[in-house]
């Protein structure tokens, strides 16, 4: 069976696609694609194996979505990109950039979801050609509480992720940088916070109902009732139907801490996941702790963590990995891929035991998505 993988890489200055041979040993590159555009996410559609959607903008121009059905050779721009409704008031929101793209449920071909900054949820029912604002979140009576105007990350507050329960198209989760995690049971018509026991150390009440900064959430593929979260304030796990998160990052080495942007679940083992910690001490350098990059792996659902750094620089390496730039393929053994802020693309073909560089000198990497080559 072929393990050939394509890596869809979005950067601050364009997109690149790396394609491997069957053994994932050798990689050939396509790109740059849309050089100079800020590409926050480049995603393939697992339902047809060939459609690519890209969230892009430039420093000057407004945000848009591009679509390709020929392996990235040609692209068509969305006729109506994600945009908030026209408002008569002063609070008229405008999408600054689309940050996240999710293919819809397997039973809904052509459906895509998008998360934006400022926090906004958008849906396309026609393969990404036209997009509509999802009133169930964007016009929710609590929206301005969940997404205050002064909240957010340096590049703006985010609705940074949308997850769909593979067993139920109506059951969805989303993550925001200002309100934490939210859940819907009716295909995004209504939403409720899901943040119990998740810390928000920057509030007087450090465990509020909402207000957390959910950097990244991921459903375990073999056990979708298990959610892993890398939060601004630690690593968490939630096993539904419980609504109370468990801070599994407490088991990380204290000198490393449990701050980071992202977490990657194993495609077949619900107890295994990987994180890439960053320095969250004092002034939050957000670099590899001590200048020594490492992945940490749990094989027991967060009870313990093991350092995996073979192949990474041993000192004076200060990159980090942003929330969309760490992913796994579904091969055996699992391949792991991470894109660094210094433009290096790294991989492990042995589930994190060792790492090697695939590419260097790219612009700052924002996202890496691994998909089988169709």
């Amino acid at each position: 069976m072929s393990n050939a993988i394509q890596l869809l890489v979005g950067t601050r200055k364009g997109a690149w696609i790396y394609r491997s041979d069957d053994q994932r040993r050798h990689w050939r590159v396509q790109g740059p694609i849309f050089l100079g555009h800020i590409v926050n996410h480049l995603v393939s559609d697992p339902r047809d194996g060939r459609t690519l959607l890209m969230a892009a903008k430039t420093g000057h121009l407004g945000p848009t979505i591009f679509r390709s059905t020929d392996d990235g050779e040609t692209w068509t721009e969305a006729a109506r990109p994600p945009a908030f409704p026209k408002s008569e008031g002063d609070r008229g929101r405008a999408v600054d950039h689309t940050f996240w793209l999710s293919p819809g449920h397997a039973s809904e071909p052509g459906v895509w979801w998008a998360g934006a900054s400022p926090p906004g949820l958008f849906v396309s029912e026609d393969g990404g050609a036209t997009w509509d604002s999802v009133a169930g979140f964007n016009d929710h009576p609590m929206y301005w509480k969940w997404c205050p105007e002064d909240g957010g990350t340096p590049d703006g507050a985010l609705l940074n992720q949308i997850l769909i329960d593979p067993r139920d198209a109506r059951h969805m989760y989303l993550a925001t940088s200002t309100g934490g995690v939210f859940e819907s049971h009716d295909r995004a018509q209504t939403w409720a916070p899901l943040n119990k026991n998740v810390e928000a150390s920057f509030y007087p009440d450090p465990f509020p109902e909402y207000g957390q900064d959910a950097h990244f959430i991921a459903l375990s593929p073999p056990q979708p009732d298990r959610i892993y979260q890398q939060n601004h304030c630690g690593i968490y796990r939630l096993d539904r139907p419980s609504d109370t998160w468990d801070r599994i990052g407490k088991a990380m080495p204290p000198e490393i801490g449990d701050i980071g942007f992202t977490i990657v679940p194993h495609p077949r083992d619900a107890d295994t996941a990987w994180v890439f910690p960053m320095d969250g001490a004092e002034v939050w350098p957000r670099t590899s702790p001590g200048g020594r990059p490492a992945v940490y792996k749990t094989r027991d659902a967060g009870t313990s963590w093991t350092r995996q750094d073979r192949g990474f620089p041993r000192e004076q390496a200060w990159f980090t990995v942003k929330r969309q730039a760490f992913c796994a393929d579904a091969a055996a053994p699992v391949g792991l891929y991470l894109g660094a802020t210094n433009g290096e693309l790294w991989m492990s073909e042995d589930e994190g035991d060792s790492w090697r560089e695939i590419a260097a000198h790219l612009p700052e990497i924002y996202s890496v998505v691994a998909a089988p080559i169709p």
């Binding site: 430039t58 420093g59 000057h60 121009l61 407004g62 848009t64 721009e77 969305a78 006729a79 990109p81 945009a83 908030f84 409704p85 026209k86 408002s87 008229g92 929101r93 405008a94 999408v95």
Partner: protein
């Protein structure tokens, strides 16, 4: 007719043209006319609230346009610029 100067950032929409003619009694009308012929162009210049994007500049002759509802006169020239700084 209104003459419109197109910046390099938008020539992918205009087939490479850096100067095009458009109809419209206002800047908004000109942008709508351009968008009808070059789909997608308007949204990259103004947002969904009809505000000119932060790093775009529109001038009518020598005067900077702050509101696309501003009226135009026959023979006016509309100039669109990209004005980005940073690395």
């Amino acid at each position: 007719m209104i003459a419109v100067i197109i910046p390099s950032q938008l020539t992918s929409y205009t087939g490479g043209a850096t100067r095009v003619a458009a109809d419209g009694a206002t800047v908004a009308g000109v942008l709508d006319d351009l968008d009808a012929r070059f789909p997608g162009l308007k949204f990259r210049v103004v947002d969904e609230q009809d505000r000119i994007r932060k790093h775009m500049r529109i001038f009518v002759g020598q005067d900077r346009c702050a509101d696309i509802a501003g009226a135009l006169r026959e023979g006016d020239e509309v100039l669109i610029f990209g004005a980005l700084s940073g690395g």
